[in-house]
């Protein structure tokens, strides 16, 4: 046996390998800690902003404050003031603070799924920047709370549409009247050409028919507008000076025109009887 072999360690570079393993642990632990602190914005310089809200439900510490979909800060603390309102402390990154103006609006949006979000909205970017330590109101917007209102509004619209298309509605009756009148007119017109001997009388009758045609065209416009109304919301339909008012007026006009038409037709009848 060679003497030298005794001195050769069994494991090559044992100390180096062990040293590597031993340094790996603290390096990773400290690295992870620093990364977590960095991720929490510990190393960003921030400025304070206080949001007052009537209710802090859904707000948690660490929650992001979004501007146009980008996180610009986060909730750093919450407390109740002496009036029982919630004061939400927000730290905004210094470099993103320029997106907040004195006219900025802050809203808390609760979502169906996942956590709530605080959104900042700056409608007028030409306004001066929001100073550090400012206080603003937090407007609460709850998607879930809005649902009953939306459904109620949709219901009232549907009801109005129902009113319009009901068989005994004034709108339908007007249309029915119109139909019978036009039918009658069409029938009479065929006879008219053959029977009226006097061109004077015939011209009178034809004038009447022309005015009925014009009436039909305007009626068409009215129905087209009514169609548009169906798609729109109810207040535009029934509000003061809304489309419905106009429609009513048109229908009233229509009635007077129809009365005139009937008079003309009566005259035409007399002419026919005299002929």
């Amino acid at each position: 046996m060679e003497r030298r072999s005794v001195h050769q360690p069994r494991i090559k570079h044992l100390a180096v390998k062990v040293g590597a393993v031993l340094t790996l642990i603290p390096v990773i632990a400290v690295g992870l800690l620093l990364y977590a602190l960095y991720a929490r914005g510990m190393f960003d310089s921030t400025q304070a902003l206080t949001l007052n809200a009537p209710d802090a439900e859904g707000v948690v510490i660490g929650m992001p404050v979004m501007f146009s979909g980008f996180p610009i800060g986060q909730v750093s603390g919450m407390a109740l003031d002496e009036l029982g309102r919630v004061r939400i402390e927000v730290s905004v990154k210094k470099k993103d603070a320029r997106w907040l103006r004195i006219s900025s609006v802050f809203s808390l949006e609760k979502q169906f799924l996942g956590g709530a979000k605080i959104r900042a909205f700056s409608p007028r970017m030409q306004d001066p920047e929001l100073p550090a330590g400012a206080e603003r109101q937090l407007v609460s917007k709850d998607a879930a709370q809005d649902i009953p209102q939306v459904i109620a509004r949709a219901n009232s619209i549907l009801q109005n549409v129902d009113e319009i298309i009901r068989p005994d509605s004034s709108f339908n009756q007007t249309l029915a009247n119109l139909k019978s009148v036009t039918e009658r007119m069409a029938g009479e017109y065929g006879v008219l050409g053959g029977v009226t001997g006097s061109p004077d009388q015939a011209k009178k009758v034809l004038d009447t028919v022309d005015s009925v045609n014009a009436l039909l065209a305007s009626l068409k416009g009215v129905t087209a507008r009514a169609d548009g109304v169906l798609a729109k919301t109810d207040d535009r339909m029934f509000g003061q000076g809304g489309v419905m008012d106009e429609a009513k007026r048109s229908i009233a006009q229509l009635n007077t025109i129809l009365l005139e038409a009937r008079d003309s037709l009566k005259k035409a009848d007399e002419v026919l009887a005299n002929a």
Binding site: M1, R3, S5, V6, H7
Partner: protein
């Protein structure tokens, strides 16, 4: 102990015992003694050299190289360097015995007790082997007592 028989000066002694009880008593009376015994095996995952060196290293906090050097010197002294890198299961009885003895001797203890050499060295003319071994290690130990039974006494006297 009264019937202890002295051989080759004061350093090496053959202690002839009447029975197992007396042997146990003697071992118990000398807790400071380093024991070479069948019931105290070598560390199984260390080589012979490491088994010897680790004792020195642990007790005197020497560098591994130094301890290995000392162990190697001892092995050279008894002419058993061949087994230095081997572990317990690969050793012959003699090699195992040498390893156990050197493990005790490396610290120069006051007393070494060799417990029942017949059990440790079943295939060897052990009185002769022990004599030669301890002579080779002269100066490395203070006292070495060989604990053997009285009925084996003849083995020690009949030797040439």
């Amino acid at each position: 102990m009264t019937n202890a028989k002295e051989k080759s000066g004061a350093k090496k002694r053959v202690v002839l015992l009447a029975g197992d009880a007396e042997r146990r008593q003697l071992i118990e009376d000398h807790p400071e003694a380093f024991l070479v015994s069948e019931s105290l095996p070598l560390r199984a995952n260390l080589s012979v050299l490491e088994n010897i060196a680790v004792v020195l290293q642990f007790r005197t906090n020497t560098y591994i190289g130094e301890a290995n050097d000392t162990a190697w010197k001892l092995l050279t002294q008894v002419g058993q360097t061949g087994c230095a890198e081997q572990r317990d299961p690969d050793l012959t009885y003699e090699e195992r015995f040498v390893a156990k003895l050197l493990r005790a001797i490396v610290l120069s203890p006051p007393i070494i007790l060799i417990d029942r050499p017949a059990q440790l060295l079943p295939d060897t003319n052990y009185p002769f082997f022990l004599n030669r071994l301890l002579l080779a290690l002269e100066g490395r130990f203070e006292q070495c007592w060989i604990l053997d039974y009285a009925w084996n006494a003849a083995l020690y006297t009949s030797r040439a």
